[in-house]
Amino acid sequence: METKGSIPLHGEADIVMCRQTVRKLAQEMKFSLVDQTKMITAASELSRNTVVYGGGGHMRWEIQTEGIRNALRLWFEDKGPGIPDVEKALTDGWTSGKGMGIGLSGSKRLVNDFAISTVVGQGTSVMIARWK
């Protein structure tokens, strides 16, 4: 079984491919149906952000064994405009229900581990992970 890979995120079709890829990985790792659904949904949100707001990019994935547990880690990376105020994006989108915010803050709640690093004018990288 492969333990890492990467897929491009440039258009809408890639968002669907992203969901399918993450589904396959989550199934291989034998996540419960609910955990699979949460992970795939978070991936859908973040991949859309990459395509729509990040000007395109890619998703890197890796299956990591950390002691007794297995983790599926995903990185959504782009070289887009970056996010000026991350705190705001994490709460604002949540309240307005529009834009990338709901995807960002929502995804955070669907996963076990979440990290975001962004530099205005250089790009953004969002990492999410779920473990079994």
Binding site: V34, T37, S44, E45, G97
Partner: protein, 129 residues
């Protein structure tokens, strides 16, 4: 089907429209569905719309907004929308995601959805007298 353009078929049952979503929707397809439904509601003078999502394993914020959008547009056009068959895993995820789908009526299956629509039609009729 032409490459790259999925289109969801809309069935008509009297004054009701039935949409069954069975594929992993591309964003475009969802938007096309919104357009197609709005046009059809108007064209047919539909009073009810049922959207069957029992085959949908993933409902993210885009699809969620699409469903809420259809519900709102239909309402303005005088039709009631009921979304039926939401899977447990989807419901749990939507709650965690924080998507409330406010204003969208839901039912367990198509049969129940039709009952709700029948009830609504009755209501509208009596209040119209």
């Amino acid at each position: 089907m032409t490459e790259g353009q999925q289109r969801i078929p809309i069935l008509r049952m009297g004054k009701c429209l039935l949409v069954t979503i069975q594929v992993d929707l591309q964003d475009q397809t969802a938007l096309a569905l919104q357009d197609d439904l709005s046009a059809k509601i108007d064209q047919v003078g539909a009073s009810g719309v049922i959207i069957d999502i029992s085959a949908l394993e993933i409902v993210d914020s885009f699809i969620g907004r699409m469903l809420a959008g259809i519900s709102g547009i239909a309402s303005v056009l005088g039709a009631t929308t009921v979304v039926v068959g939401m899977q447990p895993a989807v419901a749990i995820t939507l709650v965690e995601l924080g998507l409330s789908l406010q204003g969208v009526k839901t039912a367990l299956n198509v049969e129940r959805g039709m009952q709700i629509l029948a009830g609504t039609i009755d209501e509208v009729d009596t209040s119209g007298d």
